[in-house]
Point group: C2
Chain length 523, copies 2
């Protein structure tokens, strides 16, 4: 058994059976070994940012790690932005980065670079495997690190000769790897007691949830806690995955705009963090505070991502005496199918009217997607995946990975024109894999968010050359052509009626398709 075979067998033995890849020469033995271990499912991407974002999306939905296969330092670099998002999402991702053979290093051939230094930007674990015999255990260690808690990115650098040489050894699992919320160290009793005291105090409290608190039984439990105490239930602005829709506890996401977020929190006396960080402004703005916690508000950091959330919420609920199942539930309710001029608002309304049961929304709609959460709140139960790290180009790759993890569900990529262009190659992988992904392109021909940000950072009256740098017209980008070029069916809508029809058709048709909505600029 060569190294590559031992690596893939080790991964499969530990439950990692999906690898998103863009391989080169140094990874050819890994590729060849795919035929020896049919349990490993390999998905080809045309660009590494697609592979890494897909691994993140897979992990968010499957609740377990995916692997990537990348080609030396430049391949890792191309994947870095979406690994940054995965890091912020707490997704377990294992990168396997091929490298030159160990004997080749000293020649400093063209593709050589310091891979470890790049990897450190996003990884909690970085190791270069030096011998074939240790590859299996190195992979096991990397996976253990990726599972954390918290979930994280681990990077294993694999020299070509380590991969091709005989002498591979499959490593036995050290234990069961899972992303269950009941993992990690126990939070301090004193913090839980002070949080419980605050919740009983009658003062205005908010539970601020993130990470593992936004889905599954933990979401129900925190919602019960909120209902029992009258606390508000808020989530971080960009949760990795939040379960929502009719019958589920409604959670309000804190807004992106610091001005509004600050206003929203005004008057809250106790902010109780459950798998969330204290809220801060996304960017800094001249003369404005970064910290969004209002004056006079006490922050109770009950659990971070490396602590046992289940134990913490149970303990808090016991201290308060919460009755399970008391939480408010979102009522059923959809908007009507819209009519009139096509705007970002009618696009979102149509999405709300037509949202399929069990959908997964990969949300990178930016400014134009602002109305989408409201329009879908009372729709059938669904998952919402957000831009955790702020590195745009996430939406389409995450949709790929989410769909690979849940092939029986409809995935909707809600995309802005500017951000779609970073990783547009995702569409080809959707077509190749026959994924049931609907991409909605909100095309306003601009980096609209930056037009808004120019003003917010204090640039008054930008000149024509500055505005030119935010303008995506001249030439206009035609997403129907782009989708067709990558093998997908696509349609353009310039009226609301046409958009409604095309969206319904996409939802009803197996496989991927694209609906481009031509909408006016900023809101």
């Amino acid at each position: 058994m060569n190294g590559a075979q031992s690596l893939i067998r080790t991964l499969v033995g530990q439950g990692v059976d999906t690898c998103f890849m863009n391989p080169g020469t140094s990874e050819m033995h890994f590729v060849a070994a795919l035929d020896d271990v049919p349990e490993m499912h390999s998905v080809l991407a045309l660009f590494e940012g697609v592979a890494t974002g897909a691994a993140d999306g897979y992990s968010r939905i499957a609740g377990r790690a995916a692997a990537t296969l990348l080609h030396l330092g430049p391949g890792l670099g191309n994947g870095l932005a979406n690994l940054h998002n995965a890091r912020r999402a707490g997704s377990p991702v294992l990168n396997i980065v091929g490298d030159h053979a160990t004997s080749h290093r000293r020649f400093d051939a063209q593709l050589q670079s310091d891979i470890e230094t790049v990897a450190r930007n996003v990884s909690t674990f970085v190791r270069t495997t030096e011998t074939t015999a240790s590859l299996g255990t190195d992979a096991r260690d990397a996976l253990a690190a990726a599972y954390g808690p918290p979930g994280s990115v681990a990077t294993l650098i694999l020299p070509a000769d380590v991969s091709w040489s005989e002498g591979g050894v499959v490593a036995e699992p050290a234990g069961k790897l899972a992303m269950a919320p009941g993992r990690g160290s126990m939070p301090a009793t004193s913090v839980m007691e002070s949080a419980a005291a605050a919740l009983r105090s009658g003062e205005r409290c908010a539970l601020f949830i993130g990470g593992r608190a936004c889905s599954g039984p933990m979401l129900d439990a925190v919602a019960d806690l909120a209902a029992a105490t009258g606390a508000e239930l808020l989530s971080e602005t960009f949760p990795a995955r939040i379960e929502r829709g009719a019958g589920r506890p409604p959670v309000e996401r804190l807004g992106y705009l610091a001005e509004f977020a600050k206003m929203r929190l005004d008057g809250v006396r106790h902010l109780i963090l459950l798998d969330a960080k204290s809220p801060v402004s996304f960017f800094a703005y001249p003369g404005k505070p970064s910290d969004l916690v209002p004056d006079g508000c006490t922050v109770h950091a009950v659990t971070g991502p490396d602590e046992d959330l289940t134990a913490a919420v149970n303990a808090l609920s016991d201290l308060i005496g919460v009755v399970a199942g008391c939480a408010m539930r979102q009522e059923v309710g959809r908007p009507d199918l819209p009519s009139g001029p096509l705007t970002s608002q009618t696009v979102c309304q149509a999405l709300g009217a037509l949202l399929p049961e069990g959908a997964i929304v990969s949300d990178e709609g930016n400014t134009s997607g602002l109305f989408a959460p409201g329009a879908t709140a009372g729709g059938p139960p669904h998952d919402w995946l957000t831009l955790t790290g702020g590195a745009i180009g996430q939406g389409l790759p995450v949709a790929v990975g989410a769909s690979v993890a849940a092939r029986d569900r409809r995935v909707i990529a809600l995309e802005a024109d500017g951000s779609a262009l970073y990783t547009i190659q995702s569409w080809w992988t959707m077509a190749r894999e026959g994924l049931d992904v609907t991409t909605i392109i909100l095309n306003n021909h601009s980096y609209a968010v930056l037009n808004m940000e120019l003003d917010r950072v204090g640039v008054g009256g930008p000149g024509p050359r500055a505005r030119e740098m935010l303008d995506l017209g001249r030439p206009d980008i035609d997403f129907v052509h782009l989708a067709n070029g990558l093998g997908l069916h696509a349609a353009r809508a310039e009226t609301t009626e046409r958009f409604n029809d095309e969206l319904a058709r996409s939802f009803a048709t197996p496989g991927p398709s694209v609906v481009e909505a031509v909408v006016p600029g900023l809101l």
Copy 2:
């Protein structure tokens, strides 16, 4: 004057007047300042890899540094692969990477990451500017580092508040910045003397040239040296820029395939390096040596990229007594316009038949482009730019930058289907800027080079799952649609006659266009 204004004025004052950018919120003050300093020319890219590759291409043709403007760690990550190529090309490139305001760092907001660690992979200079007053001098220091010698990538990290605050100071140039070959330390006399002795010995010698030796007066001088001594004149496999065509000294590039390169060098007793590294295999292969220098051959490392090439070649020529102008010159000669079935060979033949005077070829044709150098050798004088660092996705961005640097010349991007897809967003920038770039897509529906490499790394009879990872069909990619989607005219050729016509039409038409050639797989 705020920091951003002082930065741009400092750059312009030192001859850096072109910035390729993909900005975000933290760079808005830089963008706003473009209207205050009209001497700075800004070019928008839809993806950072386009911006960094364009800076490299600009630098190779203009012979001076370009700047990039990138958005935090993820933006730098997206640009990393082409910065790797720029590093290997010895191109002076100054990255300006926006970061959060200094006061915002401690909050670890979503987009925060360790930018410096990523930058170190490609940069000889990395600095985070901490005060507005020091921004000008930091930029001057960064530029000085970028100019070297050798030319290199320098990265200046610019916190948003340093950019927006008042108190900027324009730094005066410390000296003239230029990429002239007569810069750097003097090579050791003993090495030059032993090289001269070898050249006079009557034993078989080869001059192995790279970097600055491949163009301008230095190319003439090394060719004279070769002619006077009977030495063979070879260049590194992937020179950043090589001048060629009728009337210029013919230089043979050492082949990519280690087997053939080794064979080519067999019998050479002295290899004299002029701004080149000793030849090594691109990748390592099981049981094959990485070092391509034959047994019994002495390597004379006369100059590296940080040494004075002009002085070295002059000294060598004096020691030998070379008569200037004795070099052989390439004769005029073009292939006839081809006919018959369209293959990669007829595509290259048509390129040779039609190559415009003064063209610049950005070559990322990989396997299918193999015949291009031969077909163009006797064409009108032109520049050839190669994949210096082996990180694919370089060809189209480098074509963008080369064209911005030389708007009066026709640029030809010779592209393979697989590599074009990494940075396809380049086409939009070509359209926006109205660049005279012809892209030839050699579409063989596969990562053909990897099919070859599978065999070379010793994988015999790959299985269907391995082959699937190298196959770009299913769905086929339609480059005409992709080009149209990004605002370019495009045509597909499935016959040689059609290809000839479309290529001629593209050369005769101002602005960018794409000709897709559907060719059979591997050669």
